[in-house]
């Protein structure tokens, strides 16, 4: 529940109209966004593979940091500096709305939030496992001052096998789907990754076809390409992690099979030895 509350407040705080008007958001978390997300994910990071940890670093340094430190100031004046060659009131608003249904910045923020969410699945499963094991421990031993054992339970690192493997693999698949989905959405909404300098618009109330000029199109193109590249690197890391997990599981399965075969061979040999002993 605390995870979900913080998650909801995080998502709400990303949308500027809600920042000022919605009092619930200010009560929950006025400025809790990217650092809070980082804290949540780093906690869940303990049970990741090393590729997962690399993915998290790439996500925070090359995507979240660049978004907050650089990209937000490039898109800061996107509506105020969107000028159309007309004095007709309302024409600029309408044309801006037609060509920019959702701003790049909001799309990226949503993408980062959605892509980080599957890690919560893993964190929730680990919390459930710890809770279950704690209960078992208390049932078996009662409350005989087992603080040390409970501490080791909290601090231990679970091996990625069984149900945790499936949860982890599912979270990776969801991450990939969200990344690909958002990149496709950006490509479709903005017709590619390049920002044009000039768009021509003839929506009502514009009197006829007017030229509208976008501010800083080259800088926006550079950052769009940068974020797309970082996104693809993250997807490649996720695919590599998935392949690694599957390979490890297959390897484990083969080892287990070999062990079972050798065990059954041993048993057969023991039985034949016993029979030969009995018969003599």
């Amino acid at each position: 529940l605390p995870f979900l509350c913080r998650w909801a407040s995080l998502v709400l705080s990303l949308f500027p109209p809600y920042k000022h008007s919605h009092s619930l958001v200010t009560v929950l978390s006025p400025r809790m966004s990217w650092p809070a997300l980082y804290a949540q994910l780093v906690g869940a990071n303990r049970h990741s593979t090393s590729l997962g940890k690399t993915w998290l670093s790439v996500l925070f340094i090359f995507r979240v940091m660049v978004l907050v430190v650089a990209a937000e100031s490039v898109w800061g004046d996107e509506q105020s500096d969107f000028t159309c060659n007309t004095l007709q009131p309302g024409c600029e608003n309408v044309c801006y709305d037609q060509f920019f249904p959702v701003s790049h910045i909001r799309l990226w923020c949503l993408q980062l939030v959605f892509v980080s969410a599957p890690t919560l699945l893993v964190a929730m499963y680990v919390a459930y496992r710890n809770h279950r094991d704690k209960r078992k421990l208390l049932q078996v031993c009662g409350t005989k001052g087992l603080d040390e054992e409970l501490e080791t339970l909290k601090k231990r690192r679970l091996p990625i096998t069984g149900a945790l493997w499936w949860t982890y693999a599912c979270s990776l698949v969801f991450r990939l789907l969200f990344e690909a989905g958002f990149m496709y959405a950006l490509y479709v909404v903005y017709d590619g990754f390049q920002m044009p300098r000039l768009v021509q618009c003839d929506q009502w109330p514009c009197p006829n076809l007017v030229d509208c000029f976008i501010s800083r199109p080259t800088e926006k193109t550079i950052f769009t390409v940068f974020m797309a590249t970082a996104s693809s690197i993250c997807m490649v890391l996720n695919v590599a992690e998935l392949v690694y997990l599957v390979a490890k599981a297959v390897n484990r399965g083969l080892c287990d099979q070999r062990e079972r075969k050798s065990c059954s061979k041993e048993r057969m040999r023991n039985r034949t030895n016993q029979r030969s002993l009995v018969s003599t």
Binding site: W34, M65, V69, E72, R197, L198, P217, T218
Partner: protein, 254 residues
């Protein structure tokens, strides 16, 4: 213009450079002395100056860019033509990219600690005290860690030099001009466009360039120091080996 409440000063960007500092300075423990000096120079003379001073100089770069025409759109187009990417963004990207190789070293150290922990457990020493000791132990820069460190330094130098070159290509001469002449569509003919605060921008550009040069020198000095240390260690230990004796003989003959 719709009525919007005045924007509160957003602490987010500063908070993020601060959390970036927390992440990077963790690597500090495994650096050499020169590495720590480099990190301090990076944070004090580059990131702090960027956030505290340079961002306000470039704050009104677009709104203060005025062209001698009332043609709508001419301002935007001329600004875009002469400033494809702002200095501030280039510096932010440079600082982020230049600091990332340090994470390679951090990852290597974490991997080594993991391996040491496993060895300890296998040899039977799974005392929590011993395991804690592994965490707080300072790794010596030898073996594979030495190579990781050198590679990270080389990447740092390459990124710094690349960004300085990119700067020079986009803004030749590092000087900010007062006046640019522009004739892209829809400007009616060649119009004069005036850049805001050109002298202040030149001063900060030269300052950041100088500090960047100092950082490159520190990195080169660190590489030389590490290579020198490794060589001297080899010569010291190679008293028995023929190669060491040969090198010593050659050195003595000079």
């Amino acid at each position: 213009m719709p009525l919007t409440p005045p924007a509160e000063p957003d602490p987010e960007p500063k908070m993020n450079w601060a959390s970036f500092y927390a992440v990077i300075s963790g690597v500090n423990r495994h650096s050499t002395g020169i590495g720590r000096i480099w990190l301090s120079v990076l944070f004090i003379f580059r990131i702090l100056v960027l956030v505290v001073a340079a961002e306000s100089v470039w704050g009104d770069e677009k709104s203060g860019f005025t062209c001698n025409t009332q043609q709508p759109g001419c301002n935007s187009v001329c600004y875009d033509q002469f400033f494809p990417i702002s200095h501030i963004r280039l510096w932010a990207l440079q600082l982020i990219l230049v600091s990332t190789p340090a994470l390679l070293v951090a990852m290597h150290v974490a991997h080594r600690r993991h391996v040491d922990k496993r060895l300890y457990k296998l040899s039977g020493r799974s005392n929590p005290k011993d395991l804690e000791q592994i965490k707080t132990q300072k790794m010596k820069i030898t073996g594979a860690l030495w190579w990781t460190y050198i590679i990270s330094l080389l990447f740092r130098i390459i990124f710094e030099v690349t960004f300085m070159y990119v700067f020079y290509m986009i803004y030749p001469g590092y000087k900010m001009i007062r006046l640019v002449k522009c004739d892209s569509y829809p400007c009616p003919n060649t119009v004069d466009c005036f850049v805001s605060r050109p002298t202040e921008k030149t001063v900060f550009t030269v300052f950041m360039l100088a500090v960047s040069g100092v950082c490159i020198l520190l990195n080169i000095a660190e590489v030389v120091f590490l290579v020198g240390k490794a060589c001297s260690k080899h010569l010291h230990n190679a008293g028995d080996s023929t190669m060491g004796a040969w090198i010593q003989q050659k050195l003595c003959s000079f």
